[in-house]
């Protein structure tokens, strides 16, 4: 019986989900303690292996692979995308790109929030990656790297109430509230959810392997400096 495997390594967490047709979701995750380095390289395949085994599936059963393409940490994105590409190469499974911010917003809707959602990740260098969706899942603002002080401007009061989620919502809470509601720091809504990943992976269109690339949203520093000089 075929299985769907989905994972995301755009944030500090390593998140994995396996869904078999007619079966229940099997989720595995690794959340490093605050301030600790992400453990994507050491954990991702181990969690995939564990989740597949718990779902009663083998690698050869995997027919579709969904991977979080970001935005997020560059190294994390590359580990996820390189893993998905090579697993596709080894198994012939279809590949699907899943937006990490989209997965965060979908989980907020799934948790019963009726209004709009702004998914925010800490992009470091004084920036945030953010994108907004309406309560019905319509995209309101595309993923972009923004000045955190201007995040609240994305929340059109006409489509509210607004919920802000993600590690960036926690980090930049002060500039988001009160225009947006930010759940408690320890709310699971701030982390990428395996169920949302699997759903987006199941619904999304398959892409050719060479088109599966991280959504960095930012040029390498060296390139920015070179362009600034010329």
């Amino acid at each position: 019986m075929s299985a769907l495997l989905a994972f995301d390594t755009a944030t500090a967490a390593t998140v994995v989900g396996v869904l078999r047709s007619g079966g229940e979701l099997v989720a595995r995750r690794d959340d490093p303690p605050a301030g600790a380095r992400p453990r994507h390289a050491g954990r991702l395949l181990r969690l995939c292996d564990e989740a597949l085994a718990a779902a009663g599936a083998r690698w050869s059963d995997v027919a579709r692979i969904g991977v979080g393409v970001g935005p997020g940490t560059f190294t994390g994105l590359r580990i996820g995308v390189a893993t998905a590409r090579a697993l596709g190469q080894a198994t012939g499974a279809e590949l699907v790109a899943v937006g990490t911010l989209s997965a965060l917003a979908l989980a907020a809707r799934g948790a019963g929030h009726p209004g709009a959602a702004l998914a925010v990740l800490d992009a470091r260098r004084g920036e945030a990656f953010a994108a907004g969706w309406s309560g019905s899942g319509e995209a309101l603002s595309p993923p972009a790297a923004l000045d955190p002080a201007r995040l609240a401007e994305l929340a059109d009061p006409g489509v509210g109430p607004w919920l802000a989620i993600g590690d960036g919502a926690v980090r930049f809470r002060a500039s988001l509230e009160p225009a947006l509601t930010v759940p408690d720091d320890d709310s699971p809504l701030h982390g990428v959810d395996a169920g949302a990943l699997c759903r987006l992976a199941a619904e999304g269109p398959p892409v050719a392997r060479e088109e599966l690339v991280p959504d960095y949203l930012r040029l390498p520093d060296a390139e920015l400096e070179r362009r600034a000089r010329s």
Binding site: A41, G42, R43, L44, L45, R46, C48, D49, W59, S60, V62, F74, T75, R78, I79, V81, A82, T83, R85, A86, L87, Q89, A90, T91, R209, E210, V213, P214, Y216, P220, D221, A222, E223, R226
Partner: protein
């Protein structure tokens, strides 16, 4: 876990995306190197840009290596991959790829040290050089002397304390206005020049078998400054020839000391600097038997990783899934 059959090797420690298929007998069935090229305009390798290109290229390079060998993934016996040292972001792409291929195909995984790969390449078939021997590996990323005791056991006797020899070539070439990559450009500029025209330091008073090229770099900088722009341009061939000779003689000095200290009478060269004509010529008169592999095996490639993997154990499945990269520090085998 299956292990029989050829080794599919992947190497992404710097800016070249490499894959190769190596037979169990050491035959190189294919070796593909995709050079990114994009770094030239930055005057050196940019880690983030290298890593971005590896993600886009590595699967195609693997497909190409299999196709050129007339093989498919079904024929592969085990997977080998460079674990370090190198640029971590770049290494992680190759590792994620190799680990995923191994996991999903139920194949054994072998983790290879990049430096061990260079050493394995210096003694490769079709004209194999059996250990023990002394090896000098000099490239843009590393410069070290090793006593290769057995195929899977070596001891690093000395290494560079600052720049690598290839890096010294690059920096010297830049100071002489020659561009990047510096090795071949500087060697070309030195043609017809007088290697004795300028007395550049070889760090000869530094004891032991370690290398240092920082003083040489500074000496060239001051010489060019003192000569002035016009005179430096006019005497460029002499400057290039003298600078090249200083690098070559600094390398030879340590090689001679190491041969004496170990009593070894055989030497191999590896790394991109082994392509340097003056170095190749000078080692010929050391009075020991010398082996220099073809240039494509000296510069970074995945065949050398497959060659080293032949003599290394396959990781336990759980360790393979959790394998991580390391940036520095060679594993002494």
């Amino acid at each position: 876990m299956s292990c029989e059959g050829p080794i599919l090797a992947i190497e992404t420690s710097c800016d070249d995306t490499c894959a190769a298929l190596v037979g169990e007998d050491g035959t190189i069935r294919s070796s593909v190197v995709s050079s990114q090229g994009v770094h030239d305009r930055f005057g050196g390798v940019v880690p983030e840009i290298a890593a971005r290109h590896h993600v886009e290229l590595v699967n195609l390079v693997v497909d190409d290596a299999l196709a050129r060998a007339g093989a498919s993934l079904d024929d592969v016996g085990r997977i080998a991959v460079t674990q370090g040292p190198g640029l971590v972001g770049a290494l992680l792409v190759g590792l994620a790829t190799a680990k995923s291929l191994a996991a999903a195909r139920g194949l054994g995984l072998v983790a290879v040290d990049h430096l061990h790969g260079h050493l394995a390449a210096t003694s490769a078939a079709p004209d194999p050089f059996e250990p023990p021997f002394l090896a000098l590996v000099a490239s843009g990323g590393h410069t070290f002397l090793a006593h290769v005791v057995e195929h899977a056991r070596y001891e690093v006797l000395g290494q560079t304390l600052d720049d690598a020899a290839g890096e010294a070539f690059d920096k010297g070439a830049r100071m002489l206005g020659l561009g990047y990559p510096g090795g071949p450009l500087l060697q070309h500029a030195a043609l017809g020049g007088d290697g004795a025209a300028f007395a550049f330091p070889r760090a000869e008073r530094m004891r032991g078998l370690d290398f240092s090229f920082a003083g040489l770099k500074t000496a060239l900088l001051y010489t060019v400054r003192d000569l002035g722009e016009q005179e430096s341009a006019r005497r460029r061939a002499d400057l290039a020839a003298s600078f090249q000779r200083a690098i070559v003689e600094a390398l030879l000095l340590r090689v001679e000391r190491a041969l004496e200290a170990t009593g070894l009478d055989r030497l191999t060269l590896g790394g991109g600097v082994a392509a340097n004509a003056e170095l190749r010529e000078r080692v010929g008169s050391l009075g020991v038997s010398v082996r220099v592999p073809p240039v494509e095996l000296c510069t970074d490639n995945a065949a050398m990783i497959g060659l080293a993997a032949r003599h290394l154990p396959v990781l336990a499945a759980a360790d393979a899934l959790a394998l991580e990269a390391y940036a520095t520090g060679e594993h002494l085998l």
